[in-house]
Amino acid sequence: MSNVILKVSELKTYFFTRRGVVKAVDGVEFELRHGECLCLVGESGCGKTVTALSILRLFDSPPGKIVDGQISFDSLNLTECSSKQLRQIRGKDIAIVFQEAQSALNPVLTIGDQITEQIKLHLPLDSNRTRDLAITLLSDMGIPSPEKVMSYYPHQLSGGMKQRVLIAMSLSCDPQILIADEPTTAVDVTIKAQILDIFRELKAKRQMSTIFITHDLAVVAEIGDRAVVMYGGKDVETAPVSEIISNPKHPYTIGLIDCLPDIAESGERLVSIPGTTPNPLDMPTGCTFHPRCPEVMKICSQKEPPETAISKEHKVSCHLYT
């Protein structure tokens, strides 16, 4: 497809630790189309964040290493770029918003210092225009009296404000791709709504292509166009969001959706998927979900399920559909 701007194929990021090889990402495949909001969904520890970090190679290396796969962006393969090339892409073409705004801002520098630093790094502007741009960015994010906020230190801002500052920073060089790593997890519901509004607006106004990482299917339903459900470092189901919600195929996706509390059925016990995410040092054989799967078959523990197309846009990796 011509409007694919980022394609991740067979990505494998392993961490070689003293206790063994952690296969954090083990063969993820997805593509990001221009102007869409692609959601990466999954429980903690399923490799969502490492996938995001792998795109810009931001994990610690050693012990982390991309052992296989391709990340195609703009006729480049990001897994083979030199670190210098990558540095120019980071922040300018692909930007990341981190989960915890509190720790993603340097506590000893003012907001102004941090946001202008980022602009100066990539854009050839003089200091006055840099400052103006920074103020515009902050006010675009709905931050009141941005001139004042420029001289604040991070601890003087509320969590929601910090998150907006981070988004403003990541947008400063007008990136083509924005990766948001659980930006709504660490904030309360009102701020969450406001931040989702910002992302929705970004999509509407700037046709921003976004990779949105979350474990919250409600958020996915609200802003996602397509979703990639991840489990055990692999993508298990990829489909448009409406399809995922209304017609989930993979038992894991079905489980996730069942876990959502239903407003109509009050008094019911909340459903949960039995068991926990597998130990990444010791992944189950075959389909990594089989120890927790309600529909487990004999083949599941022996063979890794191939990817099956349910429809043109809907792909699932499960032996039920082969």
Partner: protein, 320 residues
């Protein structure tokens, strides 16, 4: 290696953004500790003394054999003087005069002038040697923590070796080889004194480098240089200030100790050198040794008080 010397100069500039409000905040916290304020006041007094004092005092090198061993003002001592005409000892009373408020030494040199010029030497020794140690320690510590892996291993093992090396023996060796030159002594103290600082800075940076803002800075396209100088070092600057304040007295004392055992630079009148010259006349002219001793004592105390006060002020857990 991450940086070249040009980058370091640029980097140091980058570490110093406008942070007057932070300074103000820490000053408010430090001020609550009275001893620290006393320490700071004394240090400022000492710096002023060292900077402009020599303009107002006599020449500290000028010997005057008519006025040897004069006691300080308000002190009177009995001195036995050999009279060549009567071939006998006559005991005379000598009182201190305002011409030499702190007395004179056995060569008739003005003690006040010597103390003041000694302050200049001792402070310079303390500041320069500590400066060398701090710069080395910070860079080695931060680079070691940031790069990790074999670089970290190599640098830290080197630090261990430096730590086990008997520092005083090294100084004696250097003085023996190069002669008692103050420049070499300062250099030697600086080049051996960075190890503890490097370790502390490394451990602090190790926890900093895993913080998300470091990853965030990299995600925005910052180079290693930039992360180290703009994000890591400013976060350890409080540690650097405390370490510097606490290591200055050690350095001053080390120089004094070297001088005291006769390995100092005899051409430069540091407090240690004066102290050493005073020990021979301790019975007849006690003030020659006592005065620089008191100055050393007060200076070391002042720096330690200030260092402690700063440490409490910079510690977010303490509520002084």
């Amino acid at each position: 290696m991450v940086e070249t010397s040009g980058d370091i100069v640029k980097g140091v500039g980058r570490c110093m953004p406008n942070r007057t409000r932070l300074i103000n905040y820490y000053w408010q916290r430090t001020r609550r500790n009275k001893l620290a304020v006393f320490g700071l006041a004394f240090i400022i007094f000492l710096i002023a003394l060292a900077a402009i004092g020599p303009l107002f005092t006599l020449d500290p090198t000028e010997a005057n054999f008519e006025e040897t061993n004069m006691p300080p003002v308000r002190f009177t001592i009995e001195q036995s003087v050999y009279n060549i005409e009567t071939d006998d000892f006559t005991t005379t009373k000598i009182s201190g005069t305002w011409k030499h408020p702190l007395g004179t030494d056995s060569k008739g040199r003005d003690m006040l002038a010597m103390i003041v010029s000694g302050a200049r030497v001792s402070l310079l020794v303390g500041l320069i040697a500590t400066g060398i140690a701090i710069i080395l320690g910070t860079i080695i510590g931060v680079v070691s923590a940031y790069l990790g892996g074999w670089v970290d291993n190599a640098l830290m093992r080197f630090t261990d070796v430096m730590m086990t090396f008997p520092f005083f023996l090294l100084l004696v060796l250097i003085v023996f080889i190069f002669g008692p030159s103050l420049a070499f002594i300062v250099l030697a103290i600086g080049l051996t004194g960075w190890t503890g600082i490097a370790r502390l800075i490394r451990s602090e940076s190790l926890s900093l480098r895993t913080r998300e803002f470091v990853v965030a800075a990299k995600a925005l396209g910052a180079s290693d240089n930039r992360v180290v100088f703009r994000h890591l070092i400013p976060n350890v600057i409080s540690l650097i200030i405390i370490m510097a304040t606490l290591s200055i007295p050690g350095v001053i004392l080390a120089e004094a100790a070297l001088s005291f055992i006769g390995l100092g630079d005899p051409t430069v009148p540091s407090w240690g050198i004066i102290l050493e010259s005073g020990q021979h006349t301790l019975e007849t002219a006690w003030w020659v040794a006592v005065e620089p001793g008191i100055m050393l004592f007060l200076t070391v105390l002042a720096f330690n008080f200030l260092g402690d006060g700063l440490r409490d002020a910079f510690d977010p857990k303490s509520n002084v």
